[in-house]
């Protein structure tokens, strides 16, 4: 299967990501500039060709990062959208450019995601109020003091642990070992990716016995914090058709670009429902692209924690309903399995500089579809899917297809 260029289609023209790492000697704009310039060069265009810029950097969301990037790489006066959507921030930047192109307001656009987190440590939770001298109810729950640790956990490893355990409650064959095997796979995959923050294999025993963060997620089953950036240049099919053959050949079609939020479910008031909006996004994306899960040659999905990856096998339809435990146990998502998942090493090992993540996933799939992924190349890949989810919640799914020869 390979896609042909129709005028109303949208394509990835250029893509780039920095290695995810910790860069104490560089700032956010250095990282964003490297990726933006890298993606422009990769697509054989310049900043003067860009009609619209969308930029996502979650922890500096109010810092006009897009305009500060322009001041380094080119102040052309085009519209800039600074976007923030939790861990789906990068995917939202891509989707913003997609919409501008589809609306006919732009022919070529640039989406950049960047983040500088350093050693930020545990995210979420701990929003304890200063202990008041006199207990007085405040806030939407009328709390007299902080509730984190008394009324459940608000930490990310804990919240996603519960999401995995809710799946384990409903389905057989899912437990500590299955979750650990997800982390084993992604650490193993990362050894082939020079852009990964960590590139080290760990044994199952090492993963199971690493420090417990929030059962069943041990330290080696949690993504690190870090720094990095990624960028893609998108182009309309109409404009791409006028470009040279060698450029067209490397272009990758965006066959689906979907963003969802979480609809009401019975339990969504007390635990983030990361499932329903992912299922909705996947359904919409498969329909828009005219492909199904069985057509996917690779998937980059949002494995912020091992428990999260496992449930998304089911949410994205990569396994039989309820069969996520069997899927990992049978080797299905390993790079030599039926549907390779996170051959980049995933968030667990490649890293998760939040704003960059949703763009980096599209970079990864694009690179495989071009046949340019080096040692980690999934041979003959023609269709891939990139998924991210941010709590609150926002889910982005992009399906990409290789260009016809």
């Amino acid at each position: 299967m390979a896609a042909r260029i129709s005028p109303d289609s949208v394509w990835v023209l250029g893509a780039h990501m920095t290695r995810f790492a910790r860069y104490p000697d560089r700032d956010l704009i250095d990282l964003a500039s490297e990726s933006a310039l890298g993606a422009l060069a990769d697509g054989e265009v310049t900043v003067a060709d860009i009609d619209v810029l969308a930029c996502g950097a979650l922890f500096q969301a109010s810092g006009a990062v897009g305009q500060r990037l322009q001041k380094q790489i080119g102040q052309t006066g085009v519209p800039v959208y600074n976007v923030a959507n939790a861990c789906a921030t990068g995917a939202t930047a891509i989707r913003t450019v997609m919409m501008a192109i589809r609306a006919g307001e732009a022919e070529i656009g640039l989406a950049v995601g960047a983040e500088q987190m350093g050693k930020m440590g545990l995210l979420g939770g701990g929003a304890t109020k200063k202990e008041k001298k006199v207990f007085e109810p405040s806030g939407r729950y009328g709390a007299v003091t902080g509730v984190d640790g008394h009324l459940g956990t608000e930490t990310m490893p804990g919240v996603f642990a519960q999401a995995g355990m809710a799946y384990a409650h409903d389905h057989d064959g899912v437990g500590f070992e299955q979750f650990a095997r997800v982390a084993y796979k992604n650490h193993l995959h990362s050894t082939l990716n020079p852009l990964a923050q960590y590139q080290k294999e760990f044994s199952m025993e090492e993963i199971l016995e690493s420090p417990m963060m929030s059962y069943p997620n041990t330290l080696l089953m949690c993504c690190p914090t870090g720094d990095g950036a990624a960028a893609v240049v998108l182009v309309s099919g109409e404009r791409l058709a006028s470009m040279p053959a060698h450029v067209r050949k490397r272009a990758v079609k965006v066959s689906a670009s979907v963003l969802t939020s979480d609809p009401f479910t019975e339990d969504c008031q007390v635990q983030p429902d990361v499932n329903t909006l992912t299922r909705n996004a996947a359904d919409q994306a498969y329909e828009a692209a005219g492909v199904g899960p069985a057509d996917l040659d690779l998937v980059e999905l949002h494995d912020c924690f091992a428990t999260a990856e496992l449930i998304h096998y089911d949410n994205l339809g990569l396994c039989e309903p309820g069969g996520a435990g069997d899927f990992i146990d049978s080797g299905g998502p390993f790079r030599d399995g039926t549907t390779p998942v996170n051959v980049s090493g995933g968030l667990i090992s490649k890293g998760h500089p939040i704003g960059a993540t949703g763009v980096a996933n599209v970079y990864e799939v694009t690179t495989h579809l071009r046949g340019e992924a080096g040692d980690r190349q999934v041979e003959g890949a023609t269709v891939g899917l990139a998924h991210v989810i941010g709590l609150a919640s926002a889910c982005g799914v992009h399906i990409l297809e290789k260009a016809a020869a």
């Binding site: 640790g149 355990m165 963060m213």
Partner: protein
């Protein structure tokens, strides 16, 4: 005289026996514990108080070993579905915080415990769920 007591959150009612009170949408019956502007399911703006069943089932949990400074660990964070179908987030209490002692699907019931006092000696009372 016994010290004054206040609930940790306003949806915990201590009298006559400790129980939770949800706001139930009069349109669709959806239950919420927070101050509402409207119903997230159907959009209606009127709610009635509803007492929540004290017994239920443990639907998900995690045993938290790393938390923000000042929060004692380990503790068991839980998602409980009560027998009247209400979802509640809390801790499992009066139970070892180990995967051997805490099991998915186990029966639990509401329990309260003190979480500290303010400068006037008023005690805050939290709720959790204990195995039955």
């Amino acid at each position: 005289m016994a010290p004054a007591r206040v609930p940790l959150v306003d949806y915990l009612h201590l009298e006559p026996e400790p129980h939770l009170v949800a706001q139930e949408c009069i349109g669709c019956g959806a239950r919420f514990f927070d101050r509402r502007n409207a119903c997230a399911r159907c959009g209606r703006t009127e709610f009635a108080p509803a007492s929540v069943d004290g017994s239920g089932e443990l639907r998900a949990f995690t045993i938290v070993h790393r938390a923000a400074p000042g929060i004692p660990v380990p503790f068991v964070s839980a998602i409980v579905r009560t027998d009247d179908g209400t979802w509640v987030r809390s801790n499992v209490v009066n139970c070892d915080p180990t995967p051997e002692a805490v099991t998915l699907g186990m029966r639990v019931r509401l329990a309260t415990y003190p979480v500290g006092a303010d400068d006037d000696g008023t005690e805050a009372v939290a709720f959790g769920y204990e195995p039955t």
